[in-house]
Structure formats: C-alpha cells, structure tokens
Amino acid sequence: MSEQLEQIDILEQSDVSLLETLDHVLNRGLVIAGEITISVADIDLIFIGLNVLVSSVETANEVVRKRG
C-alpha cells in the first residue's frame, strides 16, 4: 500500500479509536531513555491537525465523486 493510501486508511478509522491509540502510544508505555531522545508533540495539536486532514480528504473525495 502506498504511504498516502495508508494514511487515508488510518485516518478514516473512527475518531475515538485513533485518538485513544495516539494517547496510549505517545503518552504512555514504559519510558526508557534511548540514545536519541524525543519530545513528543502535543497530542491535542496532532489530533486537530488530523481532523483538518480528514476533512480535506473528504472534500477531495466529494469533488472526485461529483466529477465522476
């Protein structure tokens, strides 16, 4: 699957499960300081960004459907 197709696939899952997943993976789990340290972005910001993306994907699909 191409990266973009998979992204859309992932984003179209229910909002709650994606948000719950992001919250688990990004904010929880055992913290082990590896050799590269990261500070994970604010999950609220990520989710708002995703919603913008989802609605732009939906708009794009809408346009495609109307053309077809």
């Binding site: 992204q7 990520i46 960004g49």
Partner: protein, 277 residues
C-alpha cells in the same frame, strides 16, 4: 567496535524499540509473521539478551535523528501513521505473550546499546512482565448527557423535590426567587451526582481488576465529544474479563437514567501499567 556496528553507522541506521518480552515467548513469535515495521521497508527482529528480548527494527537516521524527528512529529499524519504501526505491533505481541509496551520513540544508535539496556534494567523489566502476565488493559470512558442528568436530578434529590413543590404553591414573586434558587441547586446537585457516579465506576470496576488508573481527559475529547467526563484504565486478568464486563454493563444500566454512558475500549497492551509500584 564490531564489524556489525561499524556497518550500521556507515549505513546511517538507528534502531527503534517497540516492546520487551521474555526470550522464550519471543522465540515462539517468528519475526516473519509479525505486522509491518514502523518503516515498511525494514523488518522486525527480536534482539535478545539474557532471558529478555526486545522487538526492534532498523530506521533511517535521516528521519529519526533528534532534529528530523522534531520536524516529523509536527506533521500529524506522519506521527499518526507511525503511532498506529507501533500500536499494531505491540497489540500483536500482547495477544500472544506477556509484554512491556514502550512509549513511542525509544531509539538507539547501536544494537549493543539495546543489549546493555536489557541487562541493566533486567530486574525491573522482569518484575513488570510478571505483573502483566495473563492480564490486559481495558479503558473505560464515562460520558454524560448534561440535559438528561439535569432533568433527572429533581426526581432523585429530596431537597429539590421539596423546593419545587413549594414553588408551585407560592406567590408569583416568591416563586420567581425560589426558581432561581432551584436552578443553582440543580447545577450543584447534578455535579455531585455525576461525581458519585464516576466514583462508583472507579470503585466497582476497581474491585473487578488488579489495578486502576484515572487518566486525564484530553482537550480535544472535551471539545469534540463535549460530554466525556472521566477516563479510566483497568488492568484485568484475562480469565476474569467476563465478570469485569458484566460489572461494567450493570453500571451502565444503573446510571443510564442519569444520562451517564460508559464506553469500554480494549484490550490494550498494558501501556498504563508499566510502572513499578
């Protein structure tokens, strides 16, 4: 420096660590049957040290150095796709073995660094694995429909019922003042009733599980699904899940008339229970 390490450095690779399991359990999970790695062109592999094994995959240093990661993480879709892959992998292992899920972005520059971590933290990791064996995490979200709660509150609160009856018989002027008092009381009583409901969820399901954690409600959850009032994570023994679910369903029925709705999510790898108490 070993030839392998030299090779990794020359190829500008780093190593992403997903989770940690027991070596014997890992041996049963052939790397070939595992889900895709965080970067699809690389393969998952188990890296063992002593009786523990870390599930890892190679990642390009070009994308996973501190600097590029900071940039990538500000891209929501990049982050979401990787977080989902991380979760799919941890979930696959958690269904089949005791596992310690790591937080997103645990990255090493050399395999040797991971081996060292496994041996240095071995005792702690074995303790967590022991605690999580045969158990899984379930999430419980408590939603509340404010209008249902508000209208149900008068019938369950004796003070409010009394005031409402008296207001109906009072003179128009008195009745007006009493109505204002009733509205204020309603808000207080509704808040108190909701708190009692939430406490009961925590206590009842806490008794049906090994451990419980109250989680913060994210800002987006508060705005998007306006009514999410509380979130919990419970560590539940797999063989006792039916009793846990039954208790959750009974709670949902009891609180339904007060506008309270329960949502069960899971099973999750035990992300919320990886700390030694």
């Amino acid at each position: 420096m070993s030839v392998k390490t030299l090779c990794d450095k020359q190829m500008n690779l780093a190593f992403y660590v997903y989770c940690i399991a027991e070596r014997a359990a890992a041996a049963e999970l052939a790397a070939g049957s595992l889900p895709p790695a965080i970067e699809e062109d690389s393969k998952l592999e188990w890296l063992s040290s002593g009786d523990l094994a870390a599930l890892i995959s190679e990642v390009p240093l070009a994308s996973y150095s501190e600097e590029s990661l900071a940039e990538h993480l500000s891209d929501p879709s990049w982050t979401a796709v990787r977080a989902m892959r991380h979760e799919t992998i941890a979930e696959y292992v958690a269904k089949r073995a005791a596992v310690v899920p790591l937080r997103f972005g645990t990255i090493y520059l050399e395999r040797a660094g991971i081996e060292r971590m496994l041996s240095e933290k071995g005792r702690e990791l074995r303790e967590i694995l022991e605690r999580l064996r045969g158990r899984e995490e379930w999430g419980v979200n408590v939603f509340c429909d404010q209008s249902v709660l508000m209208s149900s509150i008068t019938s369950v609160s004796p003070v409010l019922r009394d005031l409402t009856e008296r207001a109906a018989q009072a003179s128009p002027g008195q009745s007006y003042l009493m109505q204002k008092k009733i509205e204020t009381l309603k808000v207080d009583e509704a808040r108190a009733a909701l708190n009692r409901n939430v406490e009961q969820v925590e206590q009842t399901l806490g008794e049906q599980s090994v451990d419980a954690k109250r989680l913060r409600v994210l800002k987006v959850e508060a705005t998007e699904h306006g009514e999410l009032k509380a979130k919990f994570a419970f560590l539940v023994t797999k063989s006792e899940f039916d009793a846990f679910r039954d208790a959750a369903e009974r709670l949902a029925q009891e609180h339904q008339s007060a506008g309270v709705r329960l949502e069960l999510t899971g099973p999750w790898p035990a992300y919320n229970f990886t700390r030694i108490e």
